[in-house]
Amino acid sequence: MQRASYACGTVDHAVHRRKFVGSLAAGSVVGGLGWLTRGFAADAMQARDMRVLVFNMHGGLSQLESWDPKPGTKTGGPTRAIPTSVPGIHISELLPHTAQQMHHLCLLRGVNTSEDDHGKGAYLMLTGRRQSPAADYPQIGAVASKMLSTDQQALPGHIVITPGAGGGRGNEAAYLGPRYASIALDGQKPPQHSAKPDGMSDEVEQRRHAFRQRINAEFLSRGRTAITDAYTHSYDQAQRLMERRDVFDLNREPANELARYGNHDFGRQCLLARRLLSNGVSFVQVTHSNYDTHNENFNFHLEQLGEFDKPFATLVSDLHTLGLLDQTLVVVLSEFGRTPNINHYYGRDHWSKAWTVVMGGAKVARGADFGKTNEEGTAVIDGQVDHGALFHTYLQAVGVDSTQSLLVDGRELPLADPAAQPIWKVLV
């Protein structure tokens, strides 16, 4: 029987042994085995407590209306800049609540990804690699789930909250396999089919589960594969998830908490993200839509960022208050930015040459800005970074050595693009 061509949690898919041994040897040189326990192993243990929260600003958020305003210039539009909680850092007036949380965040204003296509831009921002017919790479959510989750966790390690709960269970986990693919939620309801059928007693449910486990065990005694392991894992995960449906139930939140986040879909989705992270989910992605504003860019950004600002700022503040921000990497990304040029109908088009990604929490420098665009925002003039460097940095920020590889079917598969490096200057 052919082995499945994705990581399954077996030794074959462990952290690349040569890399580990190499690290160990290097550690021995500089400090003996003590380095291992205090350094690599300690970091690895710490990584298991780390989380990632990604806001995907679907369609292409305008950097000029958000993180890198250019008021009074040819390209600035009507958007003004406002001071933030960090002296010297200004962001768009459309983000007044976020401005007050800037001391938790870091702006990377020199992003140049050179990809203006929606699909390809989204792919490279979520995988850290350019799309290629020769290979498929796992998204950051799948990688985070793989590297940060444990089998003992009751909840899935990779959750995407998106309007309509679309997507998920696609090829976002690539060679990591379906166990690291996302569970999609819409913020309104628990995962589909996670409730016990009406009329089924606990006793019947337990007997049903026991029967399945017995049949499984008989089948697995004749041979295990990555596929059967993933299949078994899915059932076990579903069982655990059914027991923790309460985590997805926003009705358990006091009314004033819902009010703090805003009585709209995105507010509820952010509150759900807080509940998931608080309960140990390793990766949560919240999609906010839609920023593809070829037409009337300013009206739509007023509308969309007006909805985004308060829930996002409230969530960042709450993570800090709950003591979770040191363990949680926050990323605000998009597939690209928008053109500095304002088109005929007050729109901005796709622009990947000079835009902004925001990070915060975990090991990211707080209250910082890195990288700079020119006066009209048309080009990066300092601190240029790309998707590959960002992907490395996301992993390093949660204590994962982004230069390591996985062995899949005998092939070394680097977690992040080996041609890129982490942005060490934004990590502490």
Partner: protein
């Protein structure tokens, strides 16, 4: 397209078929809004560089005026044409002695949180009304700048404002297609008219779009014209068609939906009524710029004039029967009819 051949009682006749650009001047940056002075001697425009421009219509020379910290979408002359009030996206109202050799702001008021979208002057020249993104309708003394009233009732951005000729009522239109009718003296919302077809919620893109971009009244005040767009199948991609709704002022009944064939990427930015009741509208959007004409007999436009470039605003000047238009291509144009 049939020629309208409109004849105005007591005014010059206009024939849209004879429309032509008689003045065409260029500024440094794309233009946003315009108003002609009551005398017809000057036009004031606003630009993406935050400034206003005073254009002398005999020389075509612009004089740049600076006071705002953002774009200016709202302009209004006093009835005698000696003052101009401008409302900016930073939320300030500015009074200008516009006929001075080099006008300087006479009064600046922090009037709104966020954008001012539209302003209007009362028929008796006593009040100025302002609306914008903070959803509050505010009334100001035109002579002193003092705030007279705040009217709350809109739930979303307010796009347009207009005094009724009876002087006792104010109409305001918002993103959701609601037209509120306010009793000025009682300072309260009297009733609302439904211009809902001007609003689109596009579920796939998760955006509210459209709104009452322009408001006008028939000269006798009996009908309301609410303008904007509909058929917004792709709001983010500028796929939508222009629409003017004709509503009965007394009971809010929809009398006509004026549509336009062949403008798949159009939006009406402003609508006005000529003294004989003919409706003129300026259309921008991805299909280009048009002046559109409607009457109360036909659903579709009775005439249209293709402008040389995409338009963003217009102002009809009744005494000279001319229309000023401003464009993304940085041009101020004046259109005459005959």
């Amino acid at each position: 397209m049939e020629s309208a051949g409109v004849v105005l009682a007591g005014e010059p006749a206009i024939d849209p078929a004879k429309a032509r650009v008689v003045n065409d001047w260029t500024y440094e940056r794309p233009l946003l809004a315009c108003r002609m002075s009551p005398t017809g001697a000057i036009v004031v425009t606003s630009s993406e560089d935050f400034s206003l421009q005073r254009w002398d219509l005999t020389s075509g020379k612009p004089l740049q005026l600076k006071a705002h910290e953002s774009w200016v979408h709202a302009l209004e002359f006093s009835s005698d044409g000696t003052e101009l009030i401008s409302g900016g996206c930073e939320g300030n109202l500015v009074w200008w002695p516009i006929l001075d050799e080099t006008p300087q702001p006479k009064r600046t008021i922090a009037a709104h949180q966020g954008w001012i979208r539209a302003i209007a002057r009362s028929p008796d020249n006593r009040l100025l009304a302002s609306v914008g993104n903070d959803t509050i309708v505010r009334l100001w003394s035109l002579s002193t700048g003092e705030k007279v009233a705040e009217l709350a009732g809109h739930e979303r951005h307010v796009y347009s404002v207009l005094f009724h000729p009876d002087g006792r009522h104010l109409l305001t239109g918002d993103l959701m297609g609601k037209v509120h009718l306010w009793d000025i003296e009682a300072r309260k919302l009297e009733r609302s008219l439904d211009a809902g077809p001007l609003h689109t919620y596009e579920g796939g893109q998760r955006v509210d779009f459209g709104g009452v971009r322009g408001l006008a009244l028939q000269p006798n005040g009996s009908q309301v014209l609410a303008a904007g767009l509909h058929k917004a199948t792709n709001p983010l991609g500028a796929v939508h068609e222009p629409l003017v709704l004709r509503l009965d002022y007394a009971d809010g009944k929809l009398l006509k939906s004026h549509v336009c064939d062949g403008i798949p990427g159009g939006v009406i930015w402003r609508v006005q009524c000529l003294p004989d009741g003919t409706v003129i509208a300026v259309c921008g959007g991805s299909t280009g710029g048009f002046l559109l004409f409607f009457n109360d007999q036909q659903d579709k436009d009775i005439a249209r004039f293709k402008l040389p470039a995409l338009a963003r605003d217009m102002d009809w000047h009744a005494p000279s029967a001319r229309v000023a238009t401003v464009h993304h291509d940085r041009h101020l144009r004046v259109v005459a009819f005959g």
